[in-house]
């Protein structure tokens, strides 16, 4: 699998080829639009984002210095047929993952069938506390962020499924608002599918999964607080859905129910869209020193007195060791062939794979099984000899903690950088919503690695974002 040496596929104009049909109008417009003016638009966007406070905090930096995620004014375009394929593939995946979670916390048939090894029950992300607990509608991952990458005209891969507290949807929505403000004329030329109703779909789903018998559920969004890196998003979504943005200290448990402290006295809470990791939710069950959670929350949850979205224990399904089995899950639970492919993955717990990987470190991407945010990973082709040797030692000390994948030549998209317009690698994160049905709005967060040649798109590592246009009738 020699994917690294190939020249990356460009979304607008593949190497030595014509401009792709869906980009025809945009490419002509871009060519005629003065670069200086494009740069001015970029600055305008930055001022607006800064004023509205669309920022994120970087851990370890002092307060008041929130950073902007760089926003690129050149959108990524997807044709309706492409989108149709990607969205049905993502929906199929999330359906299977929800069924898998329900199974693994109940009958565990997939283990009995020998498709997923029993070792998964020893995974740190498997929550024995959830065994036998029924969640409303059997929905575990109410919100899933499926990371997709592309390597060719029709080659898409799923990089990972984010099923815990995926973030970024506020940027998807704000980027669209910004693009419509900066380039209204383009929205007249293209028929871009609207996706601004995302918060309504989410709110509707959250109400649907309220505990049994609750007529008019009270929904809240639980945030770790104003210093969390994604605080803007928490505030944004709470505002868009018209629900209270609460911190752990605002909630308390009494008589098998969760209440919030209000100026009018305690008020019962039915559904908690929590943006707090499992470990911090309830100091009585998980990390005892967590000040962010609510003592007793888990006991109410297990008794069905409150719904948590996402459910506790979804981490076992987006773990990189579980990822390998998702195509088989789709076949097992849905009886369908997977629409989207996995990236071929080496499991370093297997001696043969380990041997191969250690011999080819310079070509591969090695990831920690439980890492996220682009931390704890080695990108072989971009690493120095020294970094590779250091990483080799880390792998050897605990091979089970790692997987490896070929370095994909991620597709590129024209991007405004200091030197002008240049191709930069991108990925795509659509947000799949599960309630009564599994749906997604026609749009996604497109992340772009702004450094030349870089494949790491994470905002914590200097990545930026783009608006993604799903074109209707194209």
């Amino acid at each position: 699998m020699d994917m690294a040496s190939r020249i990356p596929f460009d979304e607008m104009q593949p190497q030595d080829d014509a401009v792709r049909e869906i980009y025809r109008v945009y490419a002509a417009w871009l060519k005629s639009f003065p670069l200086q003016q494009l740069e001015r638009k970029r600055q305008e966007a930055e001022v607006l984002f800064r004023r509205v406070g669309i920022t994120f905090n970087v851990y370890g930096e002092t307060s008041g210095n929130e950073r902007l995620i760089p926003f690129d004014v050149i959108p990524r375009l997807l044709g309706s047929a492409e989108w149709q394929m990607l969205s049905s593939g993502a929906i199929q995946r999330v359906k299977a993952l929800n069924l898998f979670l329900d199974d693994i916390y109940h009958k565990q048939e997939i283990i009995k069938a020998g498709i997923v090894p029993a070792g998964i029950l020893a995974n740190a992300q498997y929550r024995p506390e959830m065994y036998g607990v029924d969640v409303p509608g059997g929905v575990y991952a109410h919100i899933a962020g499926v990371d997709l990458v592309r390597t060719g005209e029709s080659q898409f891969y799923v990089l990972e499924d984010n099923l815990r507290t995926p973030s970024g949807v506020s940027y998807m929505l704000e980027n669209r608002k910004m693009m419509m403000r900066l380039f209204p004329e383009l929205f007249r030329r293209y028929s871009v599918a609207p996706m601004e109703h995302y918060p309504q779909v989410l709110m509707n789903n959250l109400r649907v999964v309220a505990p049994h018998g609750v007529q008019d559920p009270v929904v809240v969004l639980l945030t770790p607080g104003a210093y969390n890196s994604a605080y803007f998003e928490h505030a944004f979504l709470a505002q868009q859905m018209g629900v209270e943005l609460v911190e752990g200290q605002d909630l308390f448990v009494r008589n098998n129910a969760v209440y919030m402290r209000t100026t009018e006295g305690p008020k019962r809470v039915d559904v908690i869209y929590r943006r707090l990791d499992d470990d911090y939710l309830d100091p009585l069950v998980f990390k005892p020193d967590s000040m962010l959670g609510v003592p007793g929350l888990l006991s109410v949850y297990r008794n069905g007195g409150v719904t948590l979205a996402n459910a506790v224990g979804t981490g076992v399904a987006d773990d990189k060791a579980t990822y390998i089995h998702v195509p088989d899950m789709i076949r097992f639970y849905l009886g369908e062939e997977p629409i989207l492919s996995n990236v071929p993955t080496y499991e370093l717990s297997k001696p043969d794979d380990l041997k191969y990987v250690l011999e080819h470190l310079a070509e591969l991407v090695v990831k920690e099984v439980q890492g996220s945010g682009g931390y704890g990973m080695l990108v072989g082709p971009a690493a120095t000899k020294k970094e590779i040797e250091e990483f080799r030692l880390r792998i050897l000390s605990a091979p089970d903690n790692y997987i490896a994948q070929p370095t994909l030549a991620l597709s590129t998209c024209p991007t405004l950088v200091e030197q002008g317009i240049a191709p930069r690698h991108v990925d795509l994160r659509p947000f799949v919503l599960s309630g009564k049905t599994v749906t997604l709005v026609p749009g996604a967060l497109c992340r772009v690695a702004l450094k030349e040649g870089s494949l790491v798109v994470n905002s914590s590592q200097g990545g930026g974002t783009k608006d993604t246009w799903v074109l209707e009738n194209a």
Binding site: V52, G64, G225, A235, A238, Q249, R261, T263, E264, P266
Partner: protein, 315 residues
């Protein structure tokens, strides 16, 4: 609404009002320093500004001299002084950020912009020529905050807690300002009605935007007791104690749900004294005593609001 949200809103408004009042005091003190013979020393001129802010001891602990530059920096920019304009605006913005959901988008953006703009003054040396510009900016930002929140926020409890914070803080500031100035200018120590007196009292009036109002109402020389009447009992003077309690009392009645009868009782009693009080009697018992008592009661009211609404007990 969430008690924590109410707490942030209330304090956000208090901090903005506090910054505005600090800017007013700084501005008029600086202007006084330009009047020849206004004070015998820089210390005599600048110490009152610190007394109003209530942190003379803290200043003396960290500074050797009462120079204009020292006091201005301490009151405007000192990050270690919790009641400097810097600290007040930073706290206002932090509180706003914690509850941006409860604010109208315009109100939040206004406070966020305020904080972004503040940077330009931090970098510059404002102690000489830039001070008036800085103080004007703080005042106009505060006016904008009130205008934007008044013009865009839903009239619910969130709005009421914002207003409550504004007027509790303003009443405290006006009372302190008057007390410090009145104390200093008690008749007898200097000849009455001199030019310096005129400038001192017109500065006090200007610091609460009451100079024009005074002229309009009394159209006469500036007399200390009339200034006191204007700032204590007149209900048509927007920064007077009476006007503040004309706002506070109905808000406490309107707050929904569990009522705090104690906070309504304290506010009602204070309001009655301002509404039915007569200046002659206040002077007979001593204006200083009256103001001192007022500041204490206002403080108690603040604590009662804190206890019953903002740190809401579990049951």
């Amino acid at each position: 609404m969430l008690s924590r949200t109410a707490d942030h809103l209330y304090w956000m408004a208090r901090y903005i009002e506090r910054a505005e009042n600090m800017a007013r005091v700084l501005d008029v003190t600086y202007n006084m320093s330009l009047v020849p013979n206004a004070a015998q020393s820089e210390a005599a001129l600048w110490e009152p500004a610190l007394q109003i802010a209530g942190n003379v001891d803290d200043f003396e602990a960290s500074h050797d001299e009462y120079t204009a530059a020292n006091v201005i920096h301490y009151l405007a920019m000192d990050q270690n002084n919790p009641s400097s304009i810097f600290s007040a605006l930073r706290s206002a913005r932090e509180n706003a950020r914690a509850v941006r959901v409860a604010l109208s988008a315009e109100t939040w953006e206004n406070i966020n912009t305020l904080w972004l703009e503040f940077g330009q003054f931090q970098a510059a040396d404002i102690s000489e020529s830039g001070l008036s510009e800085f103080c004007d900016w703080v005042k106009s930002r505060s006016h904008l905050f009130r205008g934007v929140s008044f013009g865009t926020m839903l009239r619910d409890d969130a709005f009421r807690f914002v207003r409550l914070g504004t007027f509790i803080e303003r009443a405290d500031n006006t009372a302190r300002l008057l007390d410090v100035k009145y104390h200093l200018l008690l008749p007898g120590e200097e000849e009455i009605g001199g030019a310096v007196d005129y400038y001192e009292w017109s500065a006090v009036l200007r610091s609460v935007s009451a100079f024009q109002a005074y002229q309009k109402i009394f159209s006469d020389t500036i007399e200390p007791w009339r200034v006191a009447e204007l700032l204590v009992l007149r209900d048509d003077m927007p920064r007077s104690l009476h006007a503040c309690f004309d706002e506070i009392t109905p808000i406490l009645e309107q707050l929904s749900g569990r009522r705090s009868s104690e906070s309504r009782r304290i506010a009602g009693e204070m309001h009655a004294r301002l509404h039915f009080g007569r200046m002659e009697e206040i002077f007979q018992d001593g204006l200083h005593e009256f103001l001192e008592d007022f500041v204490t009661s206002n403080n108690n009211l603040g604590m009662e609001i804190q206890r019953s609404f903002l740190n809401a007990p579990v049951i």
